[in-house]
Symmetry: C2
């Protein structure tokens, strides 16, 4: 096991009816800016519960943080927050609203243009941030990361600031989510876990088993959720998996990959694909292209998750990859670039961007532009 | 799943050579009281590393926090800390040293006798506390609990204060631990997990799997550790299991039991037995006495941990209990009261104490004095 430092200070407030707890979590006297995406929170009762909890408090509302939150929108939020004098932020929405609000929390403390902070990669002088999560997927509610896009240049980068001070997770708010968003959330969670797990075996017995626990739970609940996503316990399990999948709990002392995400971000930046769907397309390609390097871990995964305990190694590896792709397809997601109408010009552009950036991703730091091409070609 | 609030702010600093990190974790200008148990840290190099890291800092040393730390000793530590003006505590040792120092951290802020705080059960106005762990077992390095004894009255109670601000876990410091302490640490960890898991099925798919992950890892590594407890990765896995077994990560939204611990504490108070060994004696008794109430969960445990997937339910339950007792015996621990020379008078005393206290333990709040008797009789 590698040496590591772990700390996750976010207070998780979980369960039905818990949105009202925000009243006691935000210190008295704070000037609160509440940030939202589109209007779905007005339909599912979340907006009403938040406003009721904050009755008598001083707040302003900022609306319109979009999927793949853009610097263009977030600059407006920073301007509004500055004018209002916001000293507490409450993000109410999915991962995009939370991600965007993380940049706002840093931007409010920074004199220049917030895009500087994104290019810098991290900034931890921030206004405190609480969240009310409406879509389980990104894990942003319990980590310090965010992904921010710039539309004018079709760029999308990771950015790190502080952990939310609290996050409220009420599974009932997920009951009205569209099927496709749930499918993307499950795929996103699955691949988050894989980015931390699908590297090398025998680094940490416990971290491996914890990661496998999330994978197995997702595989178990996904078909049931497809039938009925108003089952409280199922949706609670899903919410738990999404949050625990990217809060550092399964990453202690182990190598991480993240090349699928880096390639996926490019597909979103270039084609506007939903994040979860980029992953269901790219990840089977990653496994196919890197089947040699990852063979031992793919075999462990195949055996423990899919029961593939006999046969030749190469066959077991192939079957584990097939099972993974089948799982994504069972969610109703596309798993091939061709299905999304993406071809050689995009592969070329991504290869170029990786090469220009001069960094190599993956647990072995060897996923260069040429390897990204191999992955994308395996996902054709 | 039940509603819950989770937060664990402890910074975990894990790995070989990480003790030196305490220098950067304790703010400059702090007056540090370092607390120790006996002299083992002078033999294994831990004392030297701590003192080297704190060169040039203002500190005092308090020695002699014993196993099952006593209020009698801790009053002396509080007096010394007060005289010194300690505003930071560094506990260097196992769970007893850390537990005891938690009471010191509260006692330094409290004007009366610290035993008042233990009787009160919790006190969160504390001096900040960091730890350097030397014995994986109690999980105290990453939770807010402590267990404090009073020798004169043979009492032992749980006490809650704040989480350590940081804890350093270097697996190499465990290489020199005596076999029996390691065995007790494994049993302690195993039963901590069981107290949070062995209740009712279908509360949380993920929490169940995470708990089972720790149990499986312990069962897998225990015989290897018996052969060689200087294997870094094995001892790192053991340390991880112990810390993750009682830091709240596997307890989110699920019922907990803790009756085995409450009975075990009485055995320590009355007979001075090592904590881990009280658990290896009491826990199989708990399973036997409560086999009806816990039948469904015992069957899940038997199937997932011991591969007991066929046969009549009653047989499967019995086999799972036998496997558990065998596991403790494989560690070299006693599993029967009679082996420790404990008989009817102790059973009677514990029954009386439970009844006098007027509280009932267990996930159903039904482990009264009479049920404690049934458990102890099943452990004869």
């Amino acid at each position: 096991m590698n040496n590591f430092i772990f700390q996750n200070p976010t207070k998780l407030i979980f369960g039905k009816g818990m949105i009202k707890e925000i009243a006691s979590q935000i210190p008295a006297g704070k000037k609160i800016m509440i940030t939202f995406g589109g209007g779905s929170v007005k339909k599912n009762g979340v907006y009403e519960q938040v406003i009721e909890a904050l009755a008598g408090r001083e707040y302003t509302e900022f609306w319109g943080i979009e999927s793949n939150p853009s610097i263009e929108t977030l600059r407006k939020a920073i301007a509004q927050g500055r004018e209002f004098g916001a000293d507490f932020l409450l993000a109410v929405g999915g991962g995009s609203v939370i991600d965007g609000t993380k940049l706002v929390s840093a931007g409010l403390k920074y004199d220049g243009d917030a895009w500087d902070l994104v290019k810098k990669g991290s900034y931890t002088d921030t206004v405190p941030l609480g969240t009310v999560l409406t879509l389980p997927a990104t894990g942003s509610e319990m980590n310090s990361g965010a992904v921010i896009s710039r539309h004018e240049t079709k760029e999308k980068y990771a950015f790190y600031s502080n952990y939310p001070v609290f996050s409220v997770l009420d599974p009932t708010v997920t009951f009205t989510l569209p099927d496709h968003q749930i499918a993307c959330g499950i795929a996103d969670t699955f691949v988050h876990v894989m980015e931390q797990y699908m590297t090398k075996p025998e680094q940490s017995a416990l971290m491996d088993r914890w990661a496998e626990s999330i994978l197995r739970t997702l595989i178990e609940i996904a078909p049931k959720i497809k039938e009925n996503h108003e089952d409280y316990d199922l949706m609670a399990d899903f919410m738990m998996c999404a949050t625990m999948g990217l809060n550092g709990f399964i990453a202690m002392g182990v190598e991480q990959d993240w090349c699928t995400h880096m390639i996926g971000h490019e597909l979103t930046a270039l084609h506007g694909l939903t994040h979860g769907e980029t992953l269901s397309i790219v990840f089977p390609g990653t496994l196919r292209a890197l089947r040699q390097e990852k063979a031992l871990k793919i075999m462990q995964y195949g055996e423990r998750i899919w029961g593939l305990s006999s046969g030749l190694p190469e066959t077991r590896v192939e079957k584990a990859i097939e099972k993974t792709e089948e799982f994504f397809r069972s969610l109703g997601l596309r798993t091939r670039l061709s299905e999304a109408g993406i071809g050689e010009d995009t592969i070329m552009e991504i290869e170029k961007r990786f090469n220009e950036r001069g960094v190599a991703y993956g647990e072995n730091h060897d996923v260069t532009g040429a390897v990204a091409r191999r992955i994308l070609e395996a996902a054709k």
